[in-house]
């Protein structure tokens, strides 16, 4: 039977629920969405073009300005790519400190994503609570690195600042508070009947669809795909790392994966602080000429930096592949079509945690 399109509804580029401009064109029959199309390109920065020809000392600052929410991981992946090219060894203490800062950044990103989802399904109280908790996480990021967003913490061969024992103690105390609060909010989210009505069984993406669409990060893990690149990272392997997976593949599962990953991050930070090796935080070594493609796990999924450098450490060519692009496409093609009504399109889209700033470099 041929489906007839009633009306085509554009959502965005300016929408009260969306943090960044993106346009979603939904073709609908009644309340049901038949097709959706994503239109990007409202905030192109041209940052890859700016990076070319500059020494890595400048590019590492530009890299963390690709995205304001997961800036630490952009810095980390770029610098690990450069270390991969130049065979620079990182002292163990620096590697652990990198993990601590990266996990704090991941927590901040996941809590913001969940805030955004709760805000979209009109649970503003929980949303504001989550933002309040995120402040504590950002305060700790500031305590270690001196900044809240663009931290400039990692340098090739190490990190810039050491973790003081009293800072570590204060951070652990704060994290205990964050864990308490997050357990409470997770409980509200898990058991709230109104939340369940807007989340469970909506925007379902099966495991096969997730694999076919090459989704990454919590979006894929919520559908039961093993895709966490931290499993391959040497420091994370030392810490004994297991990824969080759920099988439902709906909005609820995606948000719950993020909630559970926050607890996992807290555990990882505690393990890091407990087993923090002694020693230097900076190693030597200069950049060599070479070419590499290095992937790391950003809060939203796989982040790849393909870099080519000359012997002076200048970046001749760089290409960034950020996680959100496939998630957004998968969202448009499979998740939104399964949404129950037009009202669920926004929340389904937000549940995949789209980052437009990352996509439009």
């Amino acid at each position: 039977m041929k489906k007839t399109v009633d009306v085509s509804i554009p959502l965005g580029p300016v929408h009260p629920c969306w943090k960044e401009p993106v346009r979603l064109k939904c073709e609908t029959a009644g309340e049901r969405v038949l097709r959706a199309e994503v239109e990007l390109g409202y905030m192109k920065k041209g940052i890859e073009r700016i990076m070319r020809g500059r020494p890595w000392q400048e590019v590492m600052f530009l890299a963390e300005r690709v995205c304001g929410i997961c800036s630490v991981v952009h810095n980390m992946v770029f610098i690990e790519a450069m270390e991969d090219i130049s065979a620079i060894a990182v002292p163990p203490r620096a590697a652990y400190l990198r993990v601590i800062v990266n996990e704090l950044d991941r927590m901040a990103s996941h809590i913001l994503a969940n805030f955004s989802y709760c805000y979209t399904i009109e649970h503003e109280t929980l949303a504001m609570y989550l933002l309040n908790t995120r402040e504590t996480v950002l305060d700790n990021l500031e305590r270690i690195t001196g900044s809240r967003i663009n931290t400039a913490y990692m340098i090739p061969g190490g990190v810039r600042f050491d973790l003081l024992p009293e800072d570590a103690a204060a951070m652990l105390a704060d994290l205990a508070k964050v864990e308490d609060e997050m357990r409470r909010y997770t409980g509200i989210f898990e058991t709230g009947p109104l939340i369940a009505l807007r989340s469970k069984g909506i925007g379902v993406m099966s495991r096969e669809e997730a694999i076919r669409a090459h989704t990454v990060g919590p979006t894929a893990r919520a559908s039961g795909v093993v895709c966490d690149l931290r499993l391959r990272h040497p420091t994370y392997r030392e810490l004994g790392f297991e990824q969080v997976t759920r099988t439902e593949g709906d909005n609820f599962a995606r948000v719950m994966v993020r909630f559970q990953e926050v607890f996992q991050s807290i555990d990882l930070i505690r393990k890091c602080v407990d087993t923090l090796p002694e020693g230097p935080i900076r190693g030597g070594g200069l950049c060599k000429a070479g070419e590499t493609s290095y992937s790391g796990e950003a809060p939203r999924g796989e982040l790849t930096y393909s870099v080519k450098t000359d012997e002076y450490g200048r970046v001749l060519d760089i290409a960034i592949r950020t996680p959100s692009i496939m998630n957004i496409e998968a969202c448009a093609h499979s998740m939104i079509v399964d949404a129950a009504s037009i009202a669920d399109v926004t929340s389904t889209f937000i549940s995949s945690d789209p980052c437009i700033a990352c996509n439009e470099r």
Binding site: Q57, E135, E142, R143, G146, A152, R160, D162, G192, I281
Partner: protein, 202 residues
């Protein structure tokens, strides 16, 4: 009905009420670890230009002559508050948060220098780079218009039809040679390395 009861019970818990009535506000005092714009301390600037060399943001810092002394000036519109200038300054002229304390305690520092690269296929031996270089001019005021010099102490000179780099370590990274080269044959690369331990103390 069940959901209303659920939410009423949830929002009447003591923790909820405490959170509601004693809302956490933003800190009114800037914490000591906050990395702000670099500010001047009372130490004397020796015009070594390390801060300008290490700064990743173009036009964020300049060392200017003020009456009887040199003074670094920060342009907040360009500064990205990375704090590298504070960490790199050997005299401790600038301060921002507790970067200086940490640097002192961890014995960390940055060492930075410049490297010059000449592309022989593009270079046409005009000598503009050697003549325009302010360090070359200072070392050898008699430097000829084609870039030939009698002194061995210059950064670079034309020898046998090609630019020869003699004293790379003297380069201050002003990039005058790069701007004056008609063919973009000469390039200046900034090299920075983070060091720690005895090396950093020296």
């Amino acid at each position: 009905m069940r959901s209303i009861v659920y939410y009423v019970r949830e929002f009447l818990r003591p923790e909820w009420l405490k959170d509601f009535f004693f809302v956490k506000t933003a800190p009114l005092e800037t914490p000591s670890y906050f990395k702000g714009y670099p500010t001047l301390t009372d130490k004397e600037c020796t015009q070594c230009l390390t801060c300008m060399m290490i700064c990743p943001a173009p036009g964020a810092i300049a060392v200017l002559r003020k009456k009887d002394r040199w003074e670094p000036e920060i342009y907040p519109g360009h500064c990205i508050r990375c704090g590298l200038c504070v960490e790199a300054c050997p005299e401790g002229v600038l301060s921002s948060g507790r970067i200086l304390d940490v640097t002192h305690r961890d014995k960390t520092a940055f060492s930075s220098w410049y490297r010059l690269e000449v592309d022989d296929t593009l270079c046409m031996r005009c000598g503009n780079c050697c003549v325009s270089c302010p360090v070359n001019r200072e070392v050898d005021p008699q430097l000829a218009g084609t870039g030939t010099s009698a002194s061995d102490e210059v950064i670079m000179r034309i020898e046998g039809g090609r630019v020869t780099i003699l004293h790379e370590e003297k380069c201050t990274g002003c990039k005058t040679c790069e701007t004056n080269c008609p063919n973009r044959a000469i390039r200046v690369a900034r090299m920075v390395e983070g060091v720690q331990g005895e090396e950093a103390e020296a």
